[in-house]
Amino acid sequence: MIFPITYYNTLSTETQKILQHHQEYIDDITITKKDINEITKTYVNEHFLIKQIEELKREPSIITQIESLQKLYIFKNPREIRNFLLQDITLIEHLLDGYLAIMKVFQTGEKLELEYVIDAEENWDALTIIIPSHLPIKQIIRLERELFENWFVYIIDQVGNKLNYITKPL
């Protein structure tokens, strides 16, 4: 199994290490309880998130997937977001993967927001993911860059200017 780099990068370093190990020694992976205590927090949270995203991905209906995105994002203008996603349904997959990537980098307890924005003069419209964060500005800037390098840079050719993200310091 070859992991797309976008997905692989959304996993924590510990999981990436385990995954690398797993690929080599598929039948014999054991870790002690002491080990697991050290990584449980990241690991279990990540496990839960991956499971949640996988479940949404397995949903065969495109419409139901769009509705399910509201479990992950607060839709600021639901009607416009639905219409925009129906114009380009490939964005749904990026919003699902993006959620995982953002949660890994920012580890925010705040719910992410999604907004449809339009610039009529420029004849341009897009979806913007808004990431609320209590972290200091310097750290937010660093994490924004990390998110770009771990996720967005790999999808930028596919999403063009239809999807972007900003942070909202709280």
Binding site: P4, I29, I62, R79
Partner: protein, 244 residues
């Protein structure tokens, strides 16, 4: 739906097949299938399937495993309103609005199934799902019960404004064994407009020991008839005027 409306509320129709096969599919199959459909469905995207499991190996050790699923590959037409989803012995066809007719959708299903069968090692079907999602928009100053015959029965004593609802019912069709018809009626969340959007989702799934492709046409017609019947019975005549 066979009954023609000028503006049908269908926003998505789905037909899914689970094939009977002892062999798991691989990426060679996906490549061969793409060759067959790429003129009409040139765009593709992969949904990765991976799961993480934690298990107690013994008292002091916990083992963890990655469980890999065959990924689902999506193929889109240029307008991105027709989607084929290919999983492990699983074929799903999604048709987004504008919906033309059942005849057109059925033709498309058969075209895709035929292409699938030229490369698949099985043409026996284990499960079929036919599903229609309808969006009905009603002004929020209207009484929803004037539009919907399938509607939650809310006691009058609850003197509160309704915000959203989600109603789910399962039926069994008398004609078929191993079948289930799921009807889900729920509001789409949107507080920013004065329109209430209701989603009527009718999902008919039939399971077989093994069904030959030759029998498919009549089965699909019967399933479609049943879904159409439920659709018509769930809505009032006032509601249907919205579609004309």
């Amino acid at each position: 739906m066979t009954k023609k409306y000028k503006n049908p509320p269908i926003i998505e129709s789905i037909c899914a097949f689970q094939f009977l096969s002892k062999e798991a599919q691989d990426f060679i199959f996906v490549g061969q299938f793409y060759e067959k459909i790429k003129e009409e469905f040139p765009l593709r995207q992969q949904k990765l399937g991976v799961d993480l499991l934690l298990r107690n190996k013994d008292e002091s050790r916990i083992s963890h495993e990655f469980e890999f699923h065959f990924p689902i590959i999506q193929f889109f037409n240029q307008n991105k309103n027709f989607v084929i989803q290919l999983g492990n012995n699983l074929l799903t066809i999604n048709y987004l609005k504008p919906y033309a007719s059942w005849e057109e959708f059925k033709d498309k299903i058969f075209q895709i199934i035929e292409k699938y069968n030229t490369i698949s090692n099985t043409n026996l079907i284990q499960k079929i799902t036919l599903r229609y999602l309808n969006q009905i928009n009603i002004n929020d100053n209207e009484n929803l019960a004037d539009y919907l015959l399938l509607y939650p029965n809310i006691p009058q004593n609850i003197n509160l404004d309704k915000k959203n609802f989600n109603l789910y019912v399962e039926f069994k069709d008398k004609e078929f064994e191993n079948n289930i018809i799921k009807v889900n009626l729920h509001t789409l969340k949107d507080e920013t407009t004065n329109i209430i959007s209701v989603l009527l989702d009718i999902d008919f799934t039939l399971s077989f020991n093994s069904l030959s492709i030759n029998e498919l046409s009549s089965i699909l017609n019967k399933m479609h008839f049943e879904i159409e019947n439920i659709f018509e019975l769930c809505l009032t005549e006032k509601c249907k005027t919205l579609f004309n």
